[in-house]
């Protein structure tokens, strides 16, 4: 915010600089020069592709995961993120938007995979009620993203690791992915 006073100060500062340069005996003086502006976030997400939920085979669960290595029911969601510097990615457990009233999942889990990379450090995961998928495959952790573009595959599951049915009806969830630039 540069008001008239500030402009005067800037002018004074500039004059001072030129003056000091030629007059070594002048008193030291200082001037505060204000700067302002909005720094944009260092990461920008693309438009997400929604995932598709289906029943998890014979398990009493609903899942959208095909696209993430090692899991294959329904379809994983996708989103790209471009970070000007490295960043830390975290994922939250799935949040139910609309589910049948009688559907009370014992466990929920989300997984984010960075591209098709399969090192453990390329997976982020969060769960409620304990992991549905093996913790050895998808540890509960974040991902350190490199600078540049990252394609993210996002899987989720809600239910229990037991054979059985789930109520008929519409299911709608979302999985929140957060990146914090370094």
């Amino acid at each position: 915010m540069l008001n008239f006073k500030s402009l005067l100060k800037v002018s004074a500062g500039l004059i001072l600089v030129s003056t000091i340069g030629v007059s070594t005996k002048a008193q030291a003086q200082s001037a505060d020069v204000p700067f302002g502006g909005t720094i944009p976030s260092n990461c920008v997400f693309g438009t997400p592709t929604p995932g598709i939920l289906v029943k998890t085979g014979t398990f009493a669960a609903i899942e959208g995961s095909t696209g993430v290595s090692g899991v294959n029911f329904g379809t994983a969601g996708k989103v790209s993120v471009n970070c000007s510097t490295g960043a830390t990615l975290t994922v939250a457990a799935p949040t139910a938007v609309v589910v049948p009233a009688t559907f009370v999942p014992a466990k929920t889990q989300s997984v984010v995979q960075r591209g098709t990379n399969t090192a453990l450090t390329d997976f982020a995961s969060a769960n409620t009620g304990g992991p549905f998928w093996p913790a050895s495959a998808f540890p509960a952790q974040g991902i350190t993203l490199p600078a540049g573009n990252s394609d993210l595959n996002v899987a989720m599951v809600a239910g229990d690791v037991v054979s059985g049915s789930i109520p008929s009806g519409s299911y709608s969830y979302y999985v929140r992915v957060t990146v914090a630039p370094n």
């Binding site: 976030s41 997400p48 014979t58 799935p94 049915s165 008929s168 709608s172």
Partner: protein, 173 residues
């Protein structure tokens, strides 16, 4: 020297004004519909012939493992149960002491993919499997249904019209 001090002062100001980069979040939506019902396709009626092995009437192709094709689609899988053949019309002098029906999922390559219901014994050329139930996975299953009725010994059966039905029931999971 004073020029340098001034420059340093400006740099410090810059540093203090620049805000930390903001964390960004995005919500990835997921949705789907689960239907626990099962639906059948309309079956094409099968053809009955004199059994080449027994004094029996049998559905054409059953000895070759073929049958009437019907597909079923279960949103979340189900349990199939097959009944023994039920006579609708047979010649009055036809004595069917053994009845057997069979259903295979796909090629029926494993015992889990075969169900058969029988009374009065089984026809060895058809199947010796006696379990009338089968677990169906979620999604589409192509089923082949066959039947045989008569005696488990070689022989001919009376001329005339033969009509049977085989009931297949699926209980959704």
């Amino acid at each position: 020297m004073q020029n340098i001090a001034f420059s340093v002062g400006v740099l410090l100001i810059l540093t203090s004004i620049a805000p930390n980069a903001q964390a960004q979040s995005i919500d990835i939506p997921f949705s789907g519909t689960v239907s626990n019902s099962c639906s059948f396709s309309t079956p094409t009626p099968g053809t009955l012939i004199q059994s080449p092995n027994y004094a029996a009437i049998e559905s054409n192709g059953i000895s070759q493992g073929k049958g009437v094709q019907v597909s079923v689609n279960c949103g979340s899988g189900g349990k199939l149960t097959i009944d023994t053949p039920k006579a609708i019309q047979v010649p009055s002098n036809f004595n069917a002491s053994t009845l057997q029906s069979i259903v295979k999922r796909g090629n029926g390559s494993t015992a889990e993919d075969i169900a058969s219901a029988s009374s009065g014994g089984t026809f060895a050329a058809v199947s010796t499997i006696a379990t009338p139930t089968m677990i169906l996975p979620a999604g589409n299953s192509d089923l082949n249904v066959g039947m045989i009725a008569g005696k488990t010994i070689p022989g001919l059966i009376p001329n005339g019209d033969y009509r049977y039905t085989v009931k297949v029931t699926i209980a959704p999971n």
